[in-house]
Symmetry: D4
Subunit: 216 residues, 8 copies
Amino acid sequence: MATEYDYATNRLTADNTAILLVDHQTGLILGVQDHDQNEVRRKAQALARTGKVYGIPVIATTSAPTGPNGPLLPELVAELPEGTPIIHRSGEVDAFDDPRFEEAVRATGATNLIIAGVITDVCLMFPSLSARARGYSVHAIIDASGTTNVLARETSMARLQQAGVVLNSTVGVISELLRDWKTPAGPGTAGIFSELAMPFYGAVVASHASAGGAAS
Amino acid sequence: MATEYDYATNRLTADNTAILLVDHQTGLILGVQDHDQNEVRRKAQALARTGKVYGIPVIATTSAPTGPNGPLLPELVAELPEGTPIIHRSGEVDAFDDPRFEEAVRATGATNLIIAGVITDVCLMFPSLSARARGYSVHAIIDASGTTNVLARETSMARLQQAGVVLNSTVGVISELLRDWKTPAGPGTAGIFSELAMPFYGAVVASHASAGGAAS
Amino acid sequence: MATEYDYATNRLTADNTAILLVDHQTGLILGVQDHDQNEVRRKAQALARTGKVYGIPVIATTSAPTGPNGPLLPELVAELPEGTPIIHRSGEVDAFDDPRFEEAVRATGATNLIIAGVITDVCLMFPSLSARARGYSVHAIIDASGTTNVLARETSMARLQQAGVVLNSTVGVISELLRDWKTPAGPGTAGIFSELAMPFYGAVVASHASAGGAAS
Amino acid sequence: MATEYDYATNRLTADNTAILLVDHQTGLILGVQDHDQNEVRRKAQALARTGKVYGIPVIATTSAPTGPNGPLLPELVAELPEGTPIIHRSGEVDAFDDPRFEEAVRATGATNLIIAGVITDVCLMFPSLSARARGYSVHAIIDASGTTNVLARETSMARLQQAGVVLNSTVGVISELLRDWKTPAGPGTAGIFSELAMPFYGAVVASHASAGGAAS
Amino acid sequence: MATEYDYATNRLTADNTAILLVDHQTGLILGVQDHDQNEVRRKAQALARTGKVYGIPVIATTSAPTGPNGPLLPELVAELPEGTPIIHRSGEVDAFDDPRFEEAVRATGATNLIIAGVITDVCLMFPSLSARARGYSVHAIIDASGTTNVLARETSMARLQQAGVVLNSTVGVISELLRDWKTPAGPGTAGIFSELAMPFYGAVVASHASAGGAAS
Amino acid sequence: MATEYDYATNRLTADNTAILLVDHQTGLILGVQDHDQNEVRRKAQALARTGKVYGIPVIATTSAPTGPNGPLLPELVAELPEGTPIIHRSGEVDAFDDPRFEEAVRATGATNLIIAGVITDVCLMFPSLSARARGYSVHAIIDASGTTNVLARETSMARLQQAGVVLNSTVGVISELLRDWKTPAGPGTAGIFSELAMPFYGAVVASHASAGGAAS
Amino acid sequence: MATEYDYATNRLTADNTAILLVDHQTGLILGVQDHDQNEVRRKAQALARTGKVYGIPVIATTSAPTGPNGPLLPELVAELPEGTPIIHRSGEVDAFDDPRFEEAVRATGATNLIIAGVITDVCLMFPSLSARARGYSVHAIIDASGTTNVLARETSMARLQQAGVVLNSTVGVISELLRDWKTPAGPGTAGIFSELAMPFYGAVVASHASAGGAAS
Amino acid sequence: MATEYDYATNRLTADNTAILLVDHQTGLILGVQDHDQNEVRRKAQALARTGKVYGIPVIATTSAPTGPNGPLLPELVAELPEGTPIIHRSGEVDAFDDPRFEEAVRATGATNLIIAGVITDVCLMFPSLSARARGYSVHAIIDASGTTNVLARETSMARLQQAGVVLNSTVGVISELLRDWKTPAGPGTAGIFSELAMPFYGAVVASHASAGGAAS
């Protein structure tokens, strides 16, 4: 059976990890006010593309997507790895309350879950707590999640921390997967960073190439 | 005897929960400067209406309401469920130091308390600590509470967390009660969200209805 | 013919003023990020109710309300004086490019226009410039308008100022209409302030009444 | 007859200036949210004490002080020069609409008026416009005034500027009156700065004295 | 000869306007700290695509692009209309000091110039002043420009305003060109707004389409 | 021997508590940039006056007060209870490294220490850690302390929390001492709140009294 | 006689310009709270070094430097061109009220004055107004100046603008002097930018050089 | 063998401590947006100079310095103690994954590690976690580190805290090493504070010296 996540001895790898994207829907995203709405969108895309670059299973889910919550963000759909299961829940607030979602997660065989959700205090919170209760290690990606006000985020971070969830950033979790820039995922990761996760890096890369710099 | 709150096994429900609104008075509210004063008012109303929608007991209390602290906010009174006890304390800073308040809480039979108060570092803090000491699970609703400066809130959040209080948001706690949008409380919850707890949602709902969208 | 607005000699009155509310629609409002979205909504309501309290003509208009821009905000509709014309434009960006809007404004006989719009740099901007070109005095109500970022608002304020538009606040323009709290509009104005335009005042009023204070 | 203010040729002096403090009342001050409420209170006190130190006439006025607006701030009353007229208006929004206020201002013989008021977009705005219309030079002291939101202040500043009002700071206007630290008002001004207008200066002065520094 | 810009009588159109993009280079963009660096990049792209959608001439220029300033932003190059002249200056700070740039602008035949530049106080400032001196109407697009600190932007806005430059936003200037959503540029403009200039609109559009809403 | 602090069973009282004010000096205070410098000064005064109102021992200390750090803030000296020991350290960074300070604290007989210091990450930090090591309960008053940047405060709060220090606010700690407004310390506490710890309350009290309200 | 400044026809040059640094003293700088104190210090240094790089006369002045205001900032003294006159005023608030300062300015023969001062609303303000009255063109460098609060800066900017002063940034004014990077001042200017005026540029330059990039 | 860090019994000293500076490179620093980029640079320099003043071993490391990340900051190199090892990693994200780095750290004999890194969520995070796993005590210096957004920093702080890392400030850690201003490191520490770690202190020191104050 799989070993529990521990940075020192059992880091995140493509083999022991799955990525869960919860309720990044066109209606819900419009309520994100605790930090830059566009950043949430770009970072959710970055996580989706990480699935492709690293061959990590991604599961997306939505809450009542034919209602006001709206469909999954189109630009996020475009970044999902081919064949990504999208579980459309009919009303369950906690994605794990939908057995199809729970089963999809179990089917990945992952022991570590990278989760992002909109809104943070609901769609990220409950699945993270439920995942912990089922024995998964959880990395909650706060900057790929968003909510309606700063206090909702701050209280969520405290509660997640108390539940033993690792609070993490999009770049932090991808960098742990990368481990070494000399591995095959290096160029794909540079693309994720430059175009989606921290666009300043794209400008730095372009300046370096233009000045005749070596690849690295 | 009632079981202790645990998200995984014993979530908040109408049967195991009570809502305590502490000192949302017209004089005290004017000192709220750590976040939007109007948001505190709307979110306290949201909690009161949650009592009505879910049939959860609500208890309100005030500190010296004929003095400078002023009466309970009129718009909050208007949202309280019929028959809500309002305990007017004559000077006790910690609401639990007034035996009538303590008894009113006990009489609800709840094991989980949702508490909001103005000001955060006093009126939310002491009842939360006293409730913990009496064995209640406590959810402190930070965005339905407010205080005179950001540091008073931040230190309060740290202290509450150390005391084993769950830091939570208004929308977070209501969503846990809801559990599934297909339950009878769904429409009432949509109303609380749209009109009080996160008004952006009202605009999203109206757009959706206008476009001919299905109810959900 | 009517005299031009001049604070010293020809203030805003119910007889020389009209209120124009431009594109406060459920889809557009969701893009307001330069200041508190809820404040824009409350202040647009405040201007609508001002029409009722003072007997001032109000005209509302929308841009393509069956499309993504969405319908007029429901809570704003509820505050419009009975019989308020609502001009639904089929595509004209500047409301004055729709002859029905221009005619409706002319029909009020007003020389002074109080205008608010979402978004500031488009829906408030162009009608304000067109109104100036037609000889109207214009008060642009910045806090009842909103746009997608702070710089869009700041550049709009500079441009409006250069065009001879008076930049004003919701409370500023209502106070000028009021002129004296002893007039019949006094109580209605206190209601607008307390419930919509500056809710802190409602708390102050309630504290005062509770302490046994005289009406004023 | 008195000469118009011009910095180059006819600066502010004790002989040509009066100070008007408009509606710094205990109820209204509680709505100040555009900048630090305590700073507004200290700076209004600084202006009052400037009257004493420089022998400049001060006039205070209130709007309906027995109503919710409340009495003049007690700490401001304590700083007013002896014999300062306080005009209690019964409902006039613009202080100049009360003939007693207008007459009190005229009686000072000043050509330059230093005005501060709460709230900025009403109580500072209208008297400033009316003063301009009567031929006074006006210095509007924005940091000794306050209002309910940042946009109300920003629009007020633009409107005042368009009306030919000099936008000024508390320290700026006192420094112009001072002109030279070697004059008799020097020590009194150091006190105003250290205790009220910019308290950092009090710490600097105490450090300097403690280190054995000369008086200046 | 062409008529001067006036909103009321001679608005911006594809026939009388050119778009100048000054020094949006990979090295310079990294110094943008006055507002969101990613927003500057997206809005410069939006202006470039506006050239394509409306058939408006675009001119790009760079300052010493083989030095530390770096090459033009790659994603901006990708949005430039085919055949866009790119003037690489060898050291002239003011783009108009390079006769090739001046001539390229003249060759467009435009009387109105839409200008954005990085950094605001240099690369936007000097060409705007020089354009005014040559008789062009200038719209300075502040949110598609950026600089190293907020004060540099604020002083630039004041100086540009004094020089008779129209301060404008990306969405404001595109909306003026659009004039009516029913014109052929409507769909292309919706794309610019949704993908680049105000991405919230993309979410609103997708929600509307998903709910079965009509095109507009 | 004294019992350890526990809110539920052994709250702060005049008998079990001492107040330590560390390095609120005129030179050091000038570096406070993480929150309002004037607020730090007022709240340190509030704690000093609390010593007087409640008869709680206060100990003040300074670091090299004849050097650049400067003397104790004069307005703080004015609020210290008569006979307050002031320990002038000659170079020890941690006040407990000066045996005179350690002895003075021991001599109070207190088991609970209320500590504030400038700067937070040094002058509050080390005495708090040393006090914990000696078995005292410690309440670190963050809003009566200050430091040079926000991150220094945030890291200090985390480190103090890890060391078992209670993070608290000025108003929070005084309110716990008060316990009931009907006790003899009530009026003195109202004075501390109104004049020093939260001046908004002074305005509320004055409004209430003016309206004819009862004492409480 | 010299021609008045006009960007189009008579830009700032080493021959027509002088730089005035007013009251950047160790005591006054400690009160700067409207923006980053360290930035003010670096930018004042940048202006001083500009004198050296371009051979432009610099004049420094202090107000009562043996008193609490303190001596000129040591790091600024280190950047002043050799022989820079430093006028120590004994009490005059407006530097032009000291005839030695006025004469020193006149002796430079400059028609354009670049002025920075601490504090903005006094030490920058009055010399700027006096310089305008004497016929000089004035560039007020707001980011090399500082004051005690944001409103003092904003009102100062409005007042300076009304007096015909050009509001400018440190980088803006240096770039105008530079005119072309190929001139002899190019390398010295790169040093000013990289080390003092916008340090991000130093990082960009070092990256470029390291990558093997050409000098420009 | 060395004893574990404990403030009470085994503080940081020159004998038990090493300083690790991770990836303060010219390309990476340009992405720092969570707090002042210049402050990160100055504080990294302060830590380097601390190595010199206290004789503490410093180790610097870079990630792919010939690639876009760029070389070590030149001003940081200038502050490194002579002989400081600089480990240039060829791709390992976690510095401890490079055996040369691990060995260099071990060779210092230190039990306590002071670590700063750019970016916080990667270059500070992973070495801190790896150091903890190897039994080192770790002080993570958050204000000498930086990352691309505030949430990445906040989540990093929470994660580091959970791993038993002491969150600390630059001034906090240096002050602990200092222990007493009368020790030989006193003057050097004053220099670090005045020039790099908290420049306000340099102004305070200069004022004090100028006033004739004693050395301390």
